[in-house]
């Protein structure tokens, strides 16, 4: 009870302080393109990067290094989940609960699974053109695998293949960065031609990176799910 009230008071203080600071001091909704870096992104983004989706232009090109870092974060986090959950001495994947899913679910998943994979792939392949990108596409792919897990009790992924896939796509991303350094002297430099914005094959290295990210994120999230499902009760 005391703890709860302390918590409430603390939260209240934080809330009031943050709320009023933001409400009074942060110019919500104003045009602030002149104050910071955003004007460059908005007015030159498409020309600079060749990506029609500005968010992608920033995330993958202007600040591609952050994205490399974020991919690593996800990679490490997935490994970490494995670390917390794994247990020694017992081979994984033996103790899943054997409750069969219903016929509808099983049939539906069989039809939907490839479509979901395709949708995920679509999202990250078109990351530089339409909203979405590697992270979103990867999450959709992971959802597809989740579906598979739910419908099929015997289903489990081939760890080695997944690991290899993850590795290859992760290395692709890092290699693209290193190649940029070798070719132009800048890490992660866009060394491919920008093409004409709006086409599928445009925006230089962005599609390569986004495909890599999509596959990697999909594999990692699936890995997390796999870890969660197969842990001992």
């Amino acid at each position: 009870m005391i703890k709860k009230s302390i918590a409430l008071i603390l939260i209240a203080i934080l809330f009031v302080a943050i709320f009023f600071t933001l409400a009074n001091d942060l110019p919500f909704g104003d045009n602030r393109t002149t104050t910071g870096v955003s004007d460059k992104y908005i007015y030159h983004g498409v020309n600079d990067t060749g990506a029609s989706n500005l968010v992608t232009a920033i995330v993958v090109n202007y600040r591609g290094f952050d994205t490399l870092g974020e991919v690593t974060v996800l990679f490490v986090a997935a490994t970490g989940v494995g670390a917390v959950l794994y247990n020694m001495g017992r081979p994984a994947g033996k103790k899943r609960k054997k409750t069969e899913a219903s016929l509808i679910v099983r049939t539906g998943s069989r039809i939907l699974f490839p479509m979901m994979l395709l949708f995920g792939a679509y999202i990250f392949v078109h990351g530089h053109l339409t909203p979405g990108g590697g992270f979103q596409g990867g999450a959709v792919i992971a959802t597809a695998f989740l579906f598979k897990y739910v419908s099929d009790t015997r289903y489990h992924i081939d760890h080695n293949k997944f690991t290899a896939t993850e590795s290859v796509v992760g290395m692709t991303f890092a290699l693209v960065g290193i190649m940029g350094l070798l070719l132009t002297g800048y890490f992660l430099f866009n060394f491919l031609p920008n093409g004409s914005p709006g086409e599928l094959l445009s925006a230089g290295i962005i599609p390569i990176i986004y495909v890599a990210i999509g596959i990697k994120v999909g594999a990692e999230l699936t890995g997390i799910l796999d870890n969660m499902m197969e842990v001992e009760q």
Binding site: N53, V55, T56, I123, P131, G132, G133, F135, Q136, A139, V140, A142, T143, L146, L221, I224, L225, M228, M229, V231, Q233
Partner: protein, 82 residues
């Protein structure tokens, strides 16, 4: 105008769900509550013209993380006790 009202209603709903998921003792309900929060946030992002973020929120917040929570609850206990 209508948009403003809709957004206000969404925000209110979001707050209700958020408080509910903190307060309920049934963790499964709490997870559903957070999923609802994520969905509404995702809609709000869309309204604020951030489709990329909206997609990410929908796929990860409402999809994957809910699944992770549900699996975790299934492996442990459904009810919270002090």
């Amino acid at each position: 105008m209508i948009l403003t009202i809709a957004v206000a209603i969404l925000i209110l709903m979001m707050m209700v769900f958020a408080v509910y998921s903190v307060e309920t003792k049934d963790l499964l309900y709490a997870v559903v509550g957070t999923m609802a929060v994520s969905l509404i946030v995702s809609i709000l992002f869309y309204v604020l013209q951030a489709p990329d973020v909206a997609m990410a929120e929908a796929a990860i917040g409402a999809g994957i993380s809910t699944a992770v929570f549900v699996i975790a609850i299934k492996k442990t206990e459904r009810y919270e006790h002090d």
